[in-house]
Amino acid sequence: MQWGSVAEFLAMGGYGLYVWPSFGVAALCMGGEVIAVWRRHAAASESHDES
Amino acid sequence: MFQTVALSGSRGERRLFSDVNVTVKPGTLLAVVGENGSGKTSFLRMLCGLLSPDGGEILWQGNNIRKLKELYSAQLTYVGHLNGIKDELTPVENLKVSACLAGDESSGGVVQKALEAVGLGRAVHRLPTRVLSQGQKRRVTLARLWLSTRPLWLLDEPFASLDAAATSYLTQQIQSHLSRGGMVVVATHQEIDLPPDCIQHLRLTQ
């Protein structure tokens, strides 16, 4: 393990500003997609039951 | 001989008809009747091969029309809802082009004779079709039947917006086609004035 402290880990050798947004946006996109599909399924099956 | 076997079709997600079995023998006419929206047009387009059926088969001389493809297209003349003529061209030009594309004779004399047969005088032959009335445009379209040498005619509402004279011209032309051993499928609201022994009806209901 090459990280001495949490701060060092977050700094990413000075590239934290680039590394973390990349992973953050990736997580956001993928998580968002999961939620969107979930909602779509819920909405679809709900109106399906009504009809 | 032309027949459908267990034909079913739908428009969008709506089932229009299913399990239709009809046979059209040479010299006979099939009248497809039914209310608006009952699927008459879809049925005819399906017989043309423009629309693919949900199930069942359409057979021409015992062969599926999907397999025949262009060989089958060469057997039929289709007159649809839309006139299929260009507003900017004159009746003569329109008819010449469509006869040429159908592989029929398209010389000036033959075309003029066909137009006169549907009651369009020489006065309108050289006008752009745009200025003609709805009924006159329909006559230009139907004039193709006077040039057609194909055995199967598929006519969608051919009598719509025709006057009494034109209706009787068309009926005569259909009759002479049948007497030559031709086959006709007509979607119509009207009674057709033909001997009853050569007509069968197909009623589509919703």
């Binding site: 992973f23 990736a26 | 997600e13 709506r14 079995n21």
Partner: protein, 253 residues
């Protein structure tokens, strides 16, 4: 129901796929979460800092798998579209429909992370490099397919039109890639290239491949879930798939 399909399509009908997909999704999802967690662990804690690029290279663990997925998913989508057109099979159109948004998402992700990586290493957010440009055009193609589908109301036409577009696009992708590449070399001599491969440590490659597997599993889970949405949405339409409430055809003389 389509009777033109081969017999086994009866068993791959939407009604059969729906519960099957439902059973598979949790497994794929669980594996995806686990594998991605392992990949991230190796990527951040085992893999060493790169000698030339410093820690910025760690973006590779999300960037490269996303870029690969964007291309794989396009090809898979096009294959489903082709099967759909060829066999007139409804489920394969649905599959293609379910894949497109995920593919577009990964394409966007590849572009975004690429530009995040490009800034510290090349000094620019965007370079008109062959890879970047063709990835951008891939995104346009995904968006085009999704837009075309959504602007056609008739489902049957929507399915088949977007399938044609997907297939045309799949021919275009390699052409674009090479055209942009030649365009670059013809104009500017040597262009920017990614020369990470030879210097990469084993653990770096491992982490990247594990992330890749994780993204595959994620894609399976998400597209199957979307497939279920599509099935339910289409089932809402009356007369869907069922043996039709038959209107009578009366034959008379």
């Amino acid at each position: 129901m389509s009777t033109t399909g081969i017999n086994w399509f009866k068993y791959s009908s939407p009604q059969a796929i729906y519960p099957l997909a439902g059973r598979m999704i949790p497994w794929f999802a669980a594996v995806a979460v686990g594998v991605i967690a392992i990949g991230l662990y190796i990527g951040f804690f085992v893999a060493p800092t790169d000698a030339t690029q410093g820690d910025a290279y760690r973006i590779i663990f999300v960037h490269v798998p996303a870029a690969w997925m964007s291309m794989f998913l396009y090809v898979i989508m096009a294959i489903w579209a082709g099967i759909g057109l060829g066999l007139n099979a409804r489920p394969s159109f649905m599959m293609a429909q379910a894949i497109a948004p995920t593919g577009a998402m990964f394409t966007f992700l590849a572009l975004f992370t690429g530009s995040m990586w490009g800034k510290p290493t090349w000094g620019a957010w965007w370079v008109w490099d062959a890879r970047l440009t063709s990835e951008l055009i891939l995104l346009f193609q995904y968006i085009g397919i999704i837009l075309l589908r959504s602007s056609i109301d008739d489902l049957r036409r929507a399915d088949r039109a977007s399938a044609v577009l997907a297939l045309v696009g799949v021919i275009n992708v390699p052409i674009i890639y090479f055209s942009v590449k030649w365009w670059n070399t013809l104009h500017q001599g040597a262009s920017v290239t990614i020369t990470a491969a030879p210097t990469m440590a084993g653990s770096m490659v491992t982490a990247m491949l594990i992330m890749m597997v994780g993204f595959w599993m994620y894609s399976f889970a998400v597209t199957l879930a979307r497939m279920r949405c599509v099935i339910v949405e289409r089932e809402r339409q009356p007369s869907w798939g069922k043996p039709a409430s038959i209107p009578d055809v009366v034959e008379a003389r």
